[in-house]
């Protein structure tokens, strides 16, 4: 029987500061043991537990796409004990990983559909995974039009800036970047994400909307999507809760009778509505 609590060793190959406040870094990791890498089969939306041994373990959505085998990326905001320890790492240091854990985006259901991806702040990480996955040469034709609406408080707080530039240039992706507060060089939109959705007004016809962001953004985004005609079955969300085990045992990440680590973190709004007042 496999011991699900044992972390596999990974090396921090590359550490990039993402944001101007230096609070968010992206870690590119490679497995020390190549066999571990080939058995780590994940899909966008799933998460993993990262260990800085001696400091502890915490869950993070996987920011890379399985279409780039051999390496994993995690984008980490510096807030608590484990994330501070991760930020203090230097390239070449060893950390542990357990996973992949949780549910993935319903990619099979997305096939043949138009995809509207809505992200806010640093919750953009697993959406980044999904976008890369969809844009991957061999995958792109499986999906319809792709609209991405991504907002941050300021231009300096957007993640993956180089990649956003590449995406802007692509004809097969309609990217709308927005910030709450612009600076001199900003050429994108200004305004909160729900307002930009209203402005872009993506069609709900044959479409799925995938939403990841801070609770306040989600609260104001859902009515806009409803007005555009998106049914709760066609709105996909990713939830976060404090976790320890990641495998439905330690008891802290439940919302109603669902464990975010096990049945989630990806849920449709229809699923969440079934949890009555609990979400």
């Amino acid at each position: 029987m496999k011991n699900l609590y044992l972390p596999l060793a990974m090396r921090a190959e590359k550490i990039v500061i993402e944001t101007e406040d230096k609070n968010i870094k992206t870690f590119s990791l490679s497995f020390l043991n190549k066999e571990d890498g080939s058995s780590f089969n994940y899909l966008p939306g799933q998460f993993a537990q990262l260990s800085v041994l001696g400091k502890g373990e915490a869950p993070f959505g996987i920011a890379s796409s399985p279409t780039q085998p051999g390496e994993l990326e995690f984008t980490v905001n510096k807030v608590g004990v484990v994330t501070v320890a991760l930020h203090n790492l230097e390239e070449g240091e060893i950390i542990g990983i357990r996973g992949p854990l949780g549910s993935c985006f319903p990619i099979e259901a997305f096939e043949g559909k138009n995809i509207v991806i809505i992200g806010g702040g640093f919750a953009f990480t697993t959406l980044h995974s999904l976008i890369r996955y969809i844009l991957y040469q061999e995958n792109r034709s499986r999906f319809g039009n792709v609209i991405v609406i991504y907002g941050a408080r300021s231009p300096g707080l957007l993640l993956y800036k180089d990649e956003l530039k590449q995406w802007e240039a692509r004809p097969d992706l309609d990217l709308h970047l927005t910030v709450d507060k612009a600076d001199d060089g900003w050429r994108g939109k200004v305004g909160v994400v729900p307002n930009v959705i209203k402005e872009v007004a993506p069609s709900s016809e044959n479409a799925y909307a995938i939403v990841c962001g801070p609770p306040i953004m989600i609260k104001f985004t859902l009515p806009v999507l409803r007005d555009l005609g998106f049914l709760p079955e066609r709105i996909v969300l990713s939830l976060e809760m404090k976790m320890k085990c990641g495998i439905g045992m330690c008891g802290r990440c439940n919302i109603g009778n669902k464990y975010v680590c096990k049945e989630g973190p990806i849920f449709t709004l229809a699923h969440l509505n079934e949890l009555s007042g609990e979400y």
Binding site: L6, L53, G80, K242, M249, G256, K262, S276
Partner: protein, 340 residues
């Protein structure tokens, strides 16, 4: 079902013989209360007791447990798993309510989707010998939750006290093999069997407190936003003793203990009664006050667990009632829910 018997005055020597072959756990007196621990002589075992203060779940799910030791050395990560049990184990004298709690814990730690090696290793290597309850406590309410003083769920063998001897019922195949193997168990005559039936039939009536739990879930299905929760938590101190002493509570924390480049990852019992349990690093806490935490405890046991596993996560052992410092009685809470 195979039945045999063992004379009470032979139990000590029987346990002595088991100790040579098995790691044997039994109720023992420690200070002023009873706990389950490993015994090294049959005479340590307490045969005449109501129930242990701490549930025997710690024999399968210890209060703190090393998950692995690690060492970081230049280019790599060394992980060393703890030694798993070598000897087969016997737990002797567990009460039927606590044996039933193992069925609940099995569903958590040995689910189809995920397996917990630490729990499963201990569980699979342990033979469970329960002793039925001829004299239940006033706080016992096992019959409200599908159990009873002679419930067999979770046991391999069940002992029924008929005076000078115990009738031993083999509940599982594992239990039956064990009965055949040990010569201390003798054939049982019809007289002993009729005494046994009499004890079992009369014991149920000795459980005086009864809660109609069948309707609790339906009530709770509609009660998440009920003002009931505003009041019910008010006298709770948030001390978490109810969860620590609950044989079915299984929440845990995982923490690292480190010295330089070496250390251990440990899991420790945790509790939904504590504010830190769900506190996120950002400062957000989805269960910020005692109200949400009390609701979680009741909802988890009597609604969510029923939704997911078809049974309540409570066996009616009464420990949370007995040990609560402010006499918050779960039976009263359940009865108030029924009256909503």
């Amino acid at each position: 079902m195979k039945e045999m018997k063992i004379a009470k005055n032979e139990v000590v020597s029987f346990l002595d013989s088991l100790i040579r072959e098995y790691k044997v756990f039994a109720p023992v007196k420690r200070d002023s209360f009873v706990v389950f621990q490993e015994i090294h002589s049959g005479s340590e075992a307490l045969l005449d007791y109501a129930n242990s203060k701490k549930p025997p779940k710690e024999i399968f799910f210890p209060q703190s447990e090393v998950m692995f030791a690690y060492s970081l050395h230049g280019e790599g990560l060394g992980i060393e798993e703890p030694a798993f049990e070598e000897k087969p184990r016997v737990i002797f004298g567990i009460r039927p309510c606590d044996a039933r709690s193992l069925v609940i814990l099995d569903d958590i730690f040995n689910s189809e989707m995920y397996k917990d090696v630490y729990y499963i290793d201990k569980r699979e290597k342990t033979l469970v010998i329960a002793t039925g309850c001829n004299q239940p406590n006033s706080t016992c309410f096992c019959t409200s939750l599908g159990g009873g003083p002679f419930s067999r769920d979770g046991s391999d063998l069940l002992l029924v006290d008929i005076g000078q001897e115990y009738v031993v019922q083999a509940v599982t195949e594992k239990g039956e093999q064990f009965l055949k193997k040990h010569s201390e168990f003798k054939d049982v005559d019809e007289h002993s069997l009729s005494l046994m039936r009499n004890v079992i039939e009369t014991a149920g009536a000795l459980i005086k407190s009864k809660v109609e739990t069948e309707e609790i879930k339906e009530k709770l299905d509609r009660m998440f936003d009920d003002p009931f929760w505003d009041l019910v938590h008010e006298k709770c101190l948030g001390c978490a003793i109810c969860t620590y002493l609950c044989p079915t509570c299984h929440c845990f924390d995982i923490a690292d203990e480190a010295t330089d480049h070496r250390g251990k990852r440990i899991r420790i019992w945790d509790s939904c009664a504590f504010p830190m349990f769900t506190l996120e690093a950002s400062g957000v806490n989805p269960r910020p006050t005692n109200k949400e935490r009390t609701r979680q405890r009741i909802m988890h046991k009597f609604k969510y667990f029923v939704d997911n596993h078809g049974m309540a996560a409570c066996v009616g052992c009464g420990r949370c009632i007995k040990e609560c410092p402010v006499n918050l009685d779960i039976r009263a809470v359940l009865n108030s829910i029924l009256n909503r």
